[in-house]
């Protein structure tokens, strides 16, 4: 008992100040929201699109548009560009309500999307959101960094968000993975078992568009091919801070800036 108390004193207090204080410092090599500088693009160049492993880049009006929903944040495109027209910034705020809002083009204003839920839904879930997690394929990295939010430093419970053990107790689903053929039925059944109204959050490149497995016959290309999705959180996997930021701005518990 004595040793336990001593250890408690030694380990100290670690719950982060965020969101009231500053966000935790990320690695200087962290790859967040891509930024496209179209004036730097050379005529007819498509080097960035050529190296992208998932087809996340299309060239429009002679400059790249990056679909963060498909992006693995590997930065091959930035490395391939001789003009440094693509840069991965340290902005971790990547969540969006609409699929098309995940596309970063030159004409896009920088900064995070407004992701707050509708007022009537917010009245129900804004201060208490119970989620059921369904892992539907993928590599378990998104699951691992979602689980991290339950550790002491992140302490998801302080926002009223909790992962529950039954769909009957849940207000929404948090889905990871591309939805394999073998998880299709289980995902549908879980969704159907949730009481109305319900929300769905797709976390990670797989759940948004299939990730590295996009167009494999063994998978669907993401959660919204099976159930309607209300919030997309991109990344491969998204940083816990990206997930938390998406969740609490969705609930209206934090402003974008």
């Amino acid at each position: 008992m004595f040793k336990i108390i001593l250890a408690r004193l030694r380990q100290g207090h670690h719950t982060m100040e965020y969101p009231d204080g500053p966000a935790p410092k990320l690695s200087d090599r962290f790859r967040g929201c891509p930024v496209v500088k179209a004036d730097a693009c050379c005529d007819g160049c498509a080097d960035c699109a050529g190296v992208c492993p998932t087809g996340a880049i299309v060239i429009k009006d002679n400059h790249p548009c990056i679909d963060m929903g498909k992006c693995l944040f590997c930065s091959e495109c930035a490395n391939a560009c001789g003009q440094q027209a693509i840069k991965y910034s340290d902005d971790y705020r990547l969540a969006a309500r609409r699929r098309e809002d995940l596309v970063v083009c030159n004409d896009k204003p920088a900064g995070p999307c407004d992701v707050e839920m509708e007022r009537d839904i917010k009245k129900l879930f804004g201060r208490s959101l119970k989620l059921r997690q369904v892992s539907a394929g993928g590599c378990n990295a998104c699951e691992a960094d979602t689980n991290v939010l339950n550790t002491l430093a992140w302490d998801l419970g302080r926002f009223g968000i909790q992962f529950v053990a039954s769909p009957r107790h849940a207000d929404g689903l948090l889905i990871t993975g591309p939805v394999t053929q073998n998880m299709h039925l289980a995902l549908k059944k879980t969704y159907d078992a949730l009481p109305q109204p319900k929300i769905v959050i797709a976390v990670g490149a797989c759940a948004i568009a299939g990730g590295p497995y996009i167009d494999h016959e063994q998978v669907k290309n993401g959660a919204d091919t099976v159930v309607p999705v209300d919030l997309y959180i991109p990344g491969c996997p998204p940083h816990p801070l990206t997930i938390l930021d998406g969740l609490i701005r969705f609930l209206g518990q934090k402003e974008a800036n």
């Binding site: 040793k3 336990i4 250890a7 408690r8 030694r10 380990q11 990320l26 690695s27 200087d28 090599r29 962290f30 790859r31 992208c52 492993p53 693995l72 944040f73 590997c74 930065s75 059921r132 997690q133 369904v134 892992s135 539907a136 394929g137 993928g138 590599c139 378990n140 990295a141 699951e143 691992a144 960094d145 979602t146 689980n147 991290v148 339950n150 550790t151 002491l152 430093a153 992962f163 053990a165 039954s166 769909p167 993975g177 591309p178 394999t180 053929q181 073998n182 998880m183 039925l185 289980a186 879980t190 590295p212 497995y213 494999h216 016959e217 063994q218 998978v219 491969c236 996997p237 940083h239």
Partner: protein, 508 residues
């Protein structure tokens, strides 16, 4: 013992296909049985289609840990069946089920022939004679059943109560006591092996990095070693050192996380809370190196994607010191708390002879007293020059599997400190040329769960004609099922955490 019928091979060295002997099936079988009787392990056994649809080639890669040597052989199977080796050599049980599922070949005499990942075969044949218009659904198969008064069955999954990957578990119970646990996986099957064929492509490294997200470094290293061996590419010592450091950081994060998870499952919250946090500190050290907590982008064919400079190295060491002290303070509470030890000791035992028979790898094998660690037995990269002593326990129970992690944590930290203290000069990344045609290479690395084995066969153009991945979980799931025999069903979470196996690494 030299396996006279098979060709010898070294971890990470390519061989031409024509030096691999094609044996008659009986000789192939005898060589495997003789090898395992002499202490060798089956690292992989897999099928490969030939130009004739009724002929399938079977390959086997055996590891002789005593001799730091691999053996490879092959045989031709004509028709749709072959005599099963499983009754005499239990460690191939799942390989044979996989061959049955992928190629529609029936291993005659297999004691429990079931699908592995629930998909249609490559050949149109079906080992279970399921009608071709009938959908193949996961976990739809026979399950072992115990009958009798008061015997009941508990079914769990695929969707679990927490944030866990999908799998289906059936327990045959008498009261609280578990007679038998059967595990059905395949829910995460996403077709990675098939997608590797024709590669390397720009997606190949990403497939490797996401075979099992928590094993990104080990799988990416195995893949890159394949490419480098086939391209005869020499990496620098600097790149090999950084790969080794990344691999040990991956081990640290996962082992610390597992100690916390085991503490949580016995209701001991101090260690559960601290280790959950400290795991993040180790993940953030990987992020310090490459920007990703899981090491995405770190391992690349030809070396590493990110270099290290003096200030980053000293920051890494500073944070490593702090994390080491926090971990020791947190983990040592476990051994000092009798109520914790009472739950860990004698729970879920896996005896040494069973671990040998099932071909168990990694910390689970070492906890059962097997001196089995690829960093020593089949070393590659930096581990050929810098050694980490192998620790073992002889209890084989949950305590053994937990304690061995603590031993490995301390040794990995020491290793990283030594490596970062003397960083070799050189370029982090060198250019990789084209791949040798008509060759085969096997790469084995000691991931944090155990043996991560990749095997590639190239065609005459030097593209992958077959790519085989064996995650350590593929060997170890049967060990978990065995460990639960005769235990209470409430011990399942604890036993499960003490193995902490990968679903996606198994399902591919």
């Amino acid at each position: 013992m030299i396996n006279s019928h098979f060709a010898t091979m070294t971890n990470g060295r390519a061989v031409k296909l024509d030096v691999i002997p094609t044996l008659a099936f009986d000789d192939f079988k005898k060589a495997i049985l003789d090898g395992t009787a002499a202490g060798q392990r089956v690292s992989a056994m897999f099928g490969d289609p030939t130009s004739q649809s009724e002929v399938t080639q079977l390959y086997v890669v055996m590891a002789d840990d005593e001799q730091n040597q691999l053996y490879i052989g092959r045989t031709h199977i004509e028709g749709d069946q072959f005599p099963s080796l499983t009754p005499q050599c239990p460690q191939v049980h799942l390989f044979e089920r996989e061959i049955a599922e992928q190629f529609g070949l029936k291993p005659i005499g297999h004691p429990w022939l079931k699908p592995v990942r629930y998909h249609r075969s490559k050949t149109g044949r079906d080992a279970w004679n399921r009608p071709s218009d009938q959908a193949v659904l996961p976990a739809v198969c026979d399950f072992f059943q115990v009958e009798g008064d008061e015997v009941h069955e508990v079914a769990v999954g695929p969707v679990h109560a927490g944030i866990i990957e999908p799998g289906h578990f059936r327990f045959q119970c008498h009261g609280e006591r578990v007679f038998h646990l059967e595990i059905a996986l395949g829910f995460q099957h996403r077709g990675v092996e098939d997608a590797m064929i024709g590669g390397p492509t720009k997606r190949s490294i990403h497939y490797a990095e996401t075979l099992a997200g928590d094993t990104t470094i080990a799988h990416a290293t195995a893949y890159c070693q394949i490419v480098e061996a086939l391209a005869h590419c020499q990496k620098t010592a600097r790149a090999q050192m950084l790969r080794g450091v990344s691999l040990e950081l991956e081990r640290l994060a996962n082992h610390v996380g597992d100690l916390g998870a085991v503490a949580n499952d016995v209701g001991f919250l101090p260690t559960a809370s601290y280790c959950g946090r400290i795991r993040g500190d180790f993940l953030n050290l990987t992020a310090l190196l490459c920007g990703s907590r899981f090491g995405r982008g770190m391992i690349r064919p030809g070396g590493v994607g990110f270099d290290i400079d003096d200030s980053r190295a000293s920051e890494l060491l500073r944070r490593l010191d702090k994390a080491e002290k926090d971990t020791a303070n947190s983990v040592n509470l476990l051994w000092d708390t009798p109520s914790v030890m009472a739950r860990l000791e004698n729970t879920g035992p896996l005896p040494k002879h069973i671990a040998v028979e099932l071909g168990i790898v990694g910390p689970a094998a070492r906890a059962s007293g097997l001196v089995r660690d690829l960093r020593q037995d089949q070393p590659s990269g930096i581990f050929r020059f810098s050694h980490i002593p192998v620790g073992t326990c002889d209890t084989g129970d949950v305590f053994g599997r937990v304690f061995i992690r603590w031993v490995e944590i301390q040794r990995s930290i020491k290793f990283i400190r030594e490596q970062i203290g003397a960083i070799p000069a050189g370029s982090p990344l060198v250019k990789v040329g084209s791949l040798a045609p008509d060759s085969l290479v096997a790469t084995l690395n000691e991931g944090w769960r155990g043996e991560v084995c990749h095997i590639a066969i190239t065609n005459e153009q030097g593209s992958f004609a077959r790519y085989k991945v064996v995650d350590p979980s593929f060997h170890n799931w049967a060990g978990l099922a065995y460990a639960l025999r005769g235990q209470e069903i409430s011990d399942f979470p604890l036993c499960n955490k003490s193995f902490n196996l990968s679903y996606c690494g198994h399902d591919l």
